[in-house]
């Protein structure tokens, strides 16, 4: 356990150093994130005021749009992180050094993703703060609830990210697959879930992203507490779904890592 904490701290420190070592990159990211948030917000406002109806995925109005943006972006990162890390580090050569370290690769990847998640959450808190100031949107913000729901969702999506990462270890080019997963997440954030075909509804009901989106809206719009969500079973359902996704991701990644060590594809790019 202490080893995991040391590893997590080392990854967080590395992330932190890199974020602040390149201030222009940091500012660009913030501007990009803010621009994305405002584009979604004003874009869908324009659709609404143009005589059309607000898209059902954003039926909670302005707040829904901002939250949708936040969750979508974090979810996309959760899906992409492992693949990006593997692709980037196999090219720089540092992946091999990680792969010959004592901890299994999945441990290192999960710690890296969690460190990246912490940085992302802090960046988004800042972006959300600026966005609410600029748009005038005011809402109830239950920070612990937001954190718990987002973290559970991220862990679940990390499972899918690990499967895609395992694919990158074996097949290298999995860009189309990760783009598809990201588009799926983006699509689910704007589509009316109620109008989906039954087979698809069955899928979104057990998808951490959509479960988290529903809980976040309840928390932010209705002020529903974590305790209430726990009692109703919605929060445990998200936790269980995420755990299952993560467990499947870990098992499959470990299997694919083993195959990559057999095939010799671990450090190829």
């Amino acid at each position: 356990m202490s080893n995991l904490a040391t590893l997590f701290w080392a990854e967080l420190r590395r992330e932190w150093i890199l974020v602040f070592r390149y201030p222009l990159e940091l500012v660009s990211r913030l501007i990009w994130n803010l621009g994305f948030a405002l584009m979604i917000y004003y874009g869908f406002n324009a659709i609404g005021s143009g005589g059309g109806q607000a898209l059902p995925g954003f039926q909670d109005g302005q707040l829904g749009r901002l939250l949708g943006m936040l969750v979508t972006y974090i979810a996309m990162n959760g899906l992409n992180n492992a693949v990006e890390l593997i692709n980037q580090e196999t090219q720089t050569g540092t992946f091999e050094q990680a792969a010959l370290s004592p901890p299994p690769l999945w441990v290192i990847l999960v710690m890296r993703d969690l460190a990246s998640y912490v940085e992302m959450i802090l960046r988004f808190a800042l972006v959300l703060g600026i966005a609410t100031l600029l748009t005038g949107v005011r809402f109830h913000l239950d920070v612990p609830a937001l954190f718990v729901i987002l973290t559970l969702m991220y862990l679940g999506l990390e499972g899918i990210g690990l499967i895609l990462g395992g694919g990158a270890l074996l097949y290298k080019r999995v860009g189309t697959l990760t783009q598809f997963a990201a588009m799926l997440v983006f699509g689910l954030s704007i589509l009316p879930l109620e109008g989906l075909p039954t087979w698809m509804k069955g899928f979104v009901d057990v998808f951490p992203f959509t479960q988290a989106l529903v809980l976040l809206r309840r928390s932010a719009v209705s002020g529903e507490s974590l305790a209430a969500m726990a009692t109703q079973g919605t929060l445990p359902a998200l936790a269980l779904t995420s755990c299952i996704y993560l467990a499947i991701g870990l098992v499959l990644f470990a299997r694919m890592e083993r195959v990559a060590r057999e095939r010799g594809t671990l450090n190829q790019y």
């Binding site: 701290w9 080392a10 050094q97 990680a98 010959l100 083993r258 057999e262 010799g264 450090n267």
Partner: protein, 320 residues
């Protein structure tokens, strides 16, 4: 299972076959290779490109799983208990590419120290910074350093966990003469501290300077495994080497051939030469007289020596 007195590196009948991919046939990269390395010993693993050196090194490092055979590090099986086995291992496999170039030397040491589970990383880093003379560079980003310094940082990282085994794959590639020499001194010091070192290189002078034993691998098989001294002795041709400027005329060569004299290939300075067998000192004078008669400039006469490069060339040439 850990043996009471386990060899730091034990490679037993190891083979590696890469599975077929994208229309290519399966590739048998390593076939039944066996060797071990003792504490404080430097083993040079030599061979032509594609011979199986890097595959062997990567199997020892646990980056590749052997198809057959067994590799143990300090008695721990790499295939079945990789984490524990590699905890005794340090490796410089891609030199400066194994480092985070955007981080400073100190930050790299701290990061990889955590990854390797090193206790008291700061103290260990200070020690290595001092030992590898990196003191004035610790706050510089690795990307700003020269290749020689980056290589030293890579070694410092490999040594963080006080490894009993150090793997060095082409460690002097791209280093200038001074950096290469400094690197060799560092490796000798590490070996003196008791680490077993496996080195792969195409630079024979580096292998000759550093290694205690030499393994030559070709076509995935171990062609030779012997101590450096014995290899050099076994391939020594007793006699004299005469170096001259100019070309020895064919009639003179024909005359001298009866004395067992053979022409030598031009050396790196373009000097041609003759090899005169030992045991008949008068033959040497006859050769010198013949050269004087032809007014060929004599540059040097010395006892014939063989270096590792020559031995390597002979062994590889003889292979099927």
């Amino acid at each position: 299972m850990t043996h009471p007195i386990a060899s730091p590196v034990l490679v037993e009948a190891v083979s590696k076959q890469y599975p077929p991919r994208a229309g290519r046939d399966p590739l048998l990269a390593v076939q039944g290779v066996s060797f071990q390395v003792a504490p404080g010993e430097v083993l040079a693993l030599l061979g032509p490109n594609g011979a199986g050196k890097t595959t062997t090194i990567k199997m020892i490092a646990g980056l590749l799983r052997p198809t057959a055979g067994r590799i143990t590090l300090s008695g721990v099986d790499v295939a079945s208990d990789r984490s524990r086995a590699v905890s005794t291992l340090g490796a410089v496999l891609e030199g400066n590419r194994n480092l985070h170039w955007k981080l400073t030397v100190r930050e790299n040491l701290a990061y990889f120290g955590a990854l390797k589970g090193v206790r008291d990383v700061r103290r260990r880093s200070d020690l290595l910074v001092d030992r590898l003379d990196l003191g004035s560079h610790v706050t510089k980003r690795v990307g700003e350093l020269s290749r020689g310094l980056q290589q030293r940082v890579a070694i410092a990282i490999a040594l963080l966990g006080e490894p009993r085994v150090l793997l060095l794959d082409e460690p002097t590639l791209g280093l200038d003469v001074l950096a290469g020499r400094q690197f060799q001194q560092s490796v000798k010091a590490i070996a003196r501290s008791g680490a077993a070192i496996i080195l792969t290189t195409h630079q024979m002078e580096v292998a000759q300077s550093l290694s205690d034993r030499v393994a030559i691998i070709a076509g995935g098989r171990l062609a030779t495994l012997d101590s450096l001294g014995q290899l050099l002795e076994a391939h020594r041709t007793p006699g004299y080497e005469i170096r001259i400027r100019g070309v020895v005329p064919a009639p003179l060569l024909e005359t001298l051939a009866g004395r067992g004299v053979t022409p030598l290939e031009a050396d790196e300075s373009g000097l041609t030469g003759l090899s005169v067998p030992e045991g008949h000192p008068e033959w040497l004078y006859e050769v010198l007289d013949g050269l004087r008669a032809e007014r060929l400039e004599l540059v040097r006469v010395q006892q014939q020596a063989v270096d590792l490069e020559e031995v390597y060339r002979r062994i590889v040439k003889e292979l099927p």
